[in-house]
Symmetry: C2
Subunit: 296 residues, 2 copies
């Protein structure tokens, strides 16, 4: 069926790259008419799942293979790195390519390349690392041989689409954070099929503690997230942000801004550590330092 | 272009009905694997806008015609009625039909019929009433003759797809509400291009005060919303819900449940009044009273 063919994407390049187009919808854009980072991340999730599905590997889980489902194993993301070159607007069609590769002995890397369908211009690149967890014990697991046999034929030998950001992410606390937002709780609609909060939702919470002046005048240029622990439907979270400009001052101005983030439970347990970089809106990549703010 | 043709939909029936398909995406389904009501409502919004766009009527606003944009007029929704027969799941393709008609002297009705693309089965019917507001003064406006000339050729003479629910919606207060949720504030991502909260977001807030036992064990069967006042980015809202079962008892059981809702500002000003009806999950329409809860 034509509509299915378009909507579910297709496998290309000897079966190793999955490709899917998305039209940016009116409800996926924000106050500045461009797609939100959550929208772009949702498209990444959707292509990852459709890749597994289209390859015929899907068990009864959400992205788990047959052999994984048999062993109650699920994928969990431990690291996500994202570079956004520009944000698409309502009606734009974006083309997402995704593929997987080995990551160490017990991990899988998944990369994405998002382009403007009309111009071919890069919109976003992303790289992530996934490991296996037992759904019942919630403990991490090695990759069983039978699972490796399922997925290894799909590994594409290619270096990561983004150089790994190996700078240590600090653990923020009440003293080192500039902004703290408390009492964040999942809405009913934030829960996924495992009654857990989907990792894309965390991004909204992380940005909840960023000052509105940054969100208004800047756009997210890059993001590195380390997922430490899952959070459930009864969790109450705190979002911490520390802001620094290129000059080291903690002021919001027209230059590039770097933020550190921590999402933690009220008891202190860490959920996600993160780093975000921001450039003035409408500045092109690499010009962040010289372009004035247009959208004040 | 093929992808655009699919993603933007098409006009049929002598130009009076706009039709668009949507594939339900992984991030549009909730804990029970079915699409959320917000997802379905988002699809309605998207088709309404694409209808205006495809008809060549779009000015520089979000759904406003050229003559409306010239006069700083925008559409605002005053009433929305929705009946959901069943909820689609991830991968289902739904087909949305939408059309407009006159509503009184200064309003426009917009109806939607959503069907399963494979089976033709009705998923949802919805009917709404829209009036014009001046973007600067925020006061309601009559429909100017020039605007009427633009839109009237698109009016389809057909009775509303849902009989109007003309039962009065009560104004809940602290005494008549069973559940009150305070301190709701828009997230940055909730704002639309007018820096106002999109009317679909209100639904999430309304459901915030519904008890979790209803959300878990029941599904929304129908909803009537009356939009009274807009809310901006600095608004702090309270969500009130009163619950009654068919028997008049305020207990959550396996029978149908009716809720009344109010979304108000802290100062007491009303934003939305609403009524929702719920049926046990997996019950078919009309069997709500005899089917036990399966998803407890």
């Amino acid at each position: 069926m034509l509509s299915d063919a378009f909507s579910l994407g297709r496998i290309v390049n000897d079966g190793l790259i999955f490709k899917q187009n998305f039209s940016i919808r009116s409800y996926e854009v924000g106050a500045d008419r461009t797609a939100s980072i959550e929208t772009l991340m949702n498209h990444l999730q959707e292509t990852a799942l459709n890749h597994v599905k289209t390859a015929g590997l899907m068990g009864d889980g959400f992205g788990a293979t047959t052999e994984m489902s048999r062993r109650n194993l699920i994928w969990v993301v431990t690291k996500m790195q994202v570079l956004v070159e520009h944000y698409p607007t309502w009606g734009d069609v974006v083309e997402v390519d995704t593929w997987v590769a080995a990551s160490g002995k017990n991990g899988m890397r998944r990369d994405w390349h998002v382009r403007d369908c009309q111009t071919g211009q890069t919109i976003m690149r992303a790289s992530s690392v996934w490991v296996m967890m037992n759904k019942n014990t919630r403990r991490l697991s090695k990759i069983p041989e039978e699972v490796r046999a399922e997925i290894e034929p799909y590994f594409l030998e290619r270096s990561a689409i983004i150089d790994e950001d190996s700078r240590k992410l600090p653990k923020l606390n009440d003293d080192t954070a500039d902004y703290i937002r408390k009492g964040l709780t999942p809405r009913w609609g934030d829960l996924d099929v495992n009654q857990h909060v989907n990792n894309v939702k965390y991004i909204g919470w992380i940005l909840e503690s960023a000052p509105i002046s940054i969100l208004e005048n800047h756009e997210l240029a890059s993001m590195t997230l380390e997922y430490r622990r899952e959070c459930g439907r009864d969790s109450v979270l705190q979002s911490l942000t520390a802001v620094s400009t290129d000059s080291g001052e903690t002021m919001v101005d027209s230059r590039g801004i770097e933020c550190k983030h921590l999402l933690r439970l009220e008891c202190g347990a860490e959920i996600v550590r993160g780093r975000t970089e921001w450039r003035p809106k409408h500045a092109e990549l690499g010009e962040a330092r010289s372009t004035p703010v247009e959208n004040a």
